[in-house]
């Protein structure tokens, strides 16, 4: 494999190839990072469009716009596309762009595999999205695809869904292997593990999580495939199987998965807050250990998603306390971010606005998670809009605000231009207001008993749903502004210096803006 790097080093003087082949054949981490980010934003708009369909239908009680069957396909596809198509690839894109530049490496360790793992993704999502046009429609069983709803009662397109999950799983695993190899093998001389930037640390741990759980996801969909097509009975009670087993295996993947979607954001925010508070990060080592602790704990909490299936009391207590334990390392991180800001010379450019909102709103999502972790109370909240509010609070202002913050933070480095600050601030405030308007009322709806994944609802839920829909439309439309800001920034704008942010630290800022096609061909010395 080192041969690959050598060959690569030889054509070092050439710039990127011309035309479409540049993108098809590229092994350049910056090109691949860009493709990941563009792809993920396209998926974000697609999944967002589906969310708009959902919110339009829920604008008023009754069935106005779509059939219930199609509504179910929308909730399912929205979840799948946002999780596997928008959030995860966005972080892989950031990793591709930033990891080599942060650790002083010339490229990712496995550049050809990098190309492959990206190009698998459009194939996977082509298959997944094509199910919308198949007889019987797209998957309609929710993104959690519980058996037997997805096996015995699923539409014929379920098999396509399974293959799409296989392919995106392979893509993620290859991406994770690449990240691990890059971080372990290509760090600049002098960069010890405990000198690595936090984004590198969080991604290393995320990559381990991916390697640990994506194969389990592949396993569970393979079992589904066999139950559907080859007459096995993994999840089929008639043949001696057990549908509850599905939930155990799924959530064994599913819970670490939620940390896969948030840990890289933790890392990015740990760069952005010190940069704009003009203070070094408070408690670097505790941040690293907290991320490690969160990752380890994420493997022993999965049944908190299943409190109502009939887990014995001892199990409920164990999973309840284990879940609450995660609040401790998460709290360490939140306090560290706050302590970093404390008495700092803070300015509020767009990346900082998103990062501060991240800390505040993610904490709200964390607290509603604690409420859900209380096993006896969970029987009330389970499968209500309270759950929807909870995970949207950790994913939208958590993962997605983390991605926006990163994008604005590093856009000058990527494009060589400053983005339009006032437009970016507008983007932030419209997103902030829209997002809270959309998701905060869902807490009340859930506590009042509105179930999730339904196209129609009782009249007493009408007002909050209307508010929620208005907020969702606002948030959705605002993202077109983000597209405009990025295009404007790529095409021109104020010239960005090598280090556009006064307080920013890290090897990436020692490079000129825009970062040259090839960087750190000779590794920098880290003291």
């Amino acid at each position: 494999m080192s041969a690959v790097i050598d060959t690569h080093a030889q054509d070092h003087h050439h710039g990127p190839a011309k035309g479409i082949t540049r993108w098809l054949y590229t092994t350049n981490h910056k090109d691949i990072g860009t493709m990941y980010l563009v792809f993920s934003f396209a998926m974000f708009l697609l999944g967002g469009t589906m969310a708009m369909v959902i919110r339009a239908e829920l604008f008023q009680p009754g069935l106005q716009i779509v059939e219930p069957e199609f509504f179910n396909q929308m909730t399912t596809m929205h979840g799948l596309i946002m999780v596997f198509g928008a959030v995860m690839p966005a972080f892989v894109g950031l990793a591709n762009w930033m990891l080599p530049m942060m650790i002083g490496a010339p490229d990712m360790a496995l550049p050809r595999m990098n190309n492959w793992s990206f190009w698998l993704l459009p194939c996977a999502f082509l298959i997944l999205v094509s199910t919308l046009f198949m007889a019987g429609g797209a998957p309609n069983f929710g993104w959690t695809f519980y058996a037997p709803l997805s096996t015995t009662y699923g539409p014929p397109s379920t098999t396509f869904f399974i293959f799409a999950v296989h392919i995106m799983g392979i893509s993620s695993i290859m991406g994770a292997i690449n990240v691990i190899a890059t971080i372990l093998n290509l760090r600049a001389p002098g960069m010890t593990m405990m000198k690595m930037p936090l984004f590198v640390w969080t991604w290393l741990i995320t990559a381990f999580l991916l390697i640990a759980v994506m194969p389990v996801l592949a396993g569970v969909v393979t079992m589904m495939l066999m139950d559907i097509n080859f007459g096995t009975s993994f999840f089929n009670a008639a043949g001696g199987g057990d549908p509850v087993l599905f939930q155990h295996v799924f959530w064994f993947f599913g819970h670490p998965e939620v940390y896969i979607m948030i840990l890289p954001a933790f890392g990015a925010v740990s760069h952005i807050i010190p940069a704009f508070a003009r203070k070094p990060l408070f408690g670097y080592a505790s941040m690293v250990y907290a991320v490690g602790a969160i990752a380890l704990l994420s493997f022993v909490v999965w049944a908190h998603h299943m409190f109502t299936v009939g887990v014995p009391l001892a199990g409920e207590l164990f999973f309840m306390y284990a879940t609450m334990l995660i609040a401790v390392p998460t709290g360490v991180k939140v306090f560290n971010w706050v302590a970093t800001m404390f008495r700092g010379s803070m300015t509020f450019e767009a990346p900082m606005l998103f990062a501060v909102a991240f800390v505040i709103l993610f904490t709200i999502g964390g607290f509603s998670g604690l409420m859900l972790a209380i096993a006896p109370a969970d029987f009330q909240y389970h499968d209500t809009y309270f759950v929807v509010a909870h995970f949207h609070y950790v994913l939208v202002p958590g993962a997605i605000f983390g991605i926006f913050a990163s994008a604005y933070f590093w856009l000058p480095k990527w494009t060589g231009h400053m983005y339009d600050e006032s437009l970016a601030k507008t983007h932030f405030w419209l997103s902030f207001v829209g997002m809270n308007l959309a998701f905060f009322p869902m807490h009340f709806l859930g506590l009042a008993g509105m179930p999730r994944r339904i196209p129609d609802y009782a009249l007493q839920f009408a007002d909050f749903n209307m508010v929620s829909s208005i907020g969702a439309f606002m948030f959705g439309a605002t993202q077109l502004l983000f597209l405009f800001i990025v295009i404007k920034c790529v095409r021109g704008g104020e010239k960005a210096p090598a280090k556009p942010w006064e307080g920013a630290e890290g090897l990436e800022w020692t490079l000129p803006s825009p970062a040259p096609y090839h960087t750190f061909s000779t590794p920098p010395e880290v003291k």
């Binding site: 494999m1 695993i173 093998n185 760090r187 405990m194 994506m214 079992m223 993994f234 009939g310 014995p312």
Partner: protein, 202 residues
Amino acid sequence: MAELPESNPQPPRSNARVIGWCLVGVVGMFAFGFALVPLYNVFCEITGINGKTGGRYEASEAMQTDLNRTVEVQFIAQNGPEMPWVFRPMVHSIKVHPGEPTQVAFYAENPTGAAMVAQAIPSLAPSEGTLYFHKTECFCFNRQALAAGEITEMPLVFIVDTALPEHITKLTLSYTLYDQGEPETVSAVTSERATTTSTNNG
């Protein structure tokens, strides 16, 4: 996270080694996903938490009947998806003393014009009582074949263990009857039907 501070990045480590270890992890976790199936079954068998009552009970020595205690056992019967049989318990509820073997029967009728095979799957509530409910004879141990229009009474002999926890005074045994296709040609029918509904298989 296995390799924490190791501060010697000087000699470039081999990518092949990292890939190798990662692939071992990937293959191992894929296998672990499948290993969860037997692990889950063994765990549930030991703890009885999924309410699946066990196979034929072989008493090592006759259990003493505890005449001071009475436990109510309720019976529920239901049909799996698209199962046309008439299936119901002959007695809906019976009071028994722990340790005393009791026989009850379930009524089954195949109203269709074709011979059929069925399999009953048991489930006990509360699941805490699963380990204390023994069956010495049960129609659920085997598949049941009924000719067109045939009627049968299917026996169940059970013993409630004297060690049943004090706070359990009522047990509910539920059977779900699943269509297993026609006699003899079961496997052919199963694979054919599996492509459409996948509800029935062995």
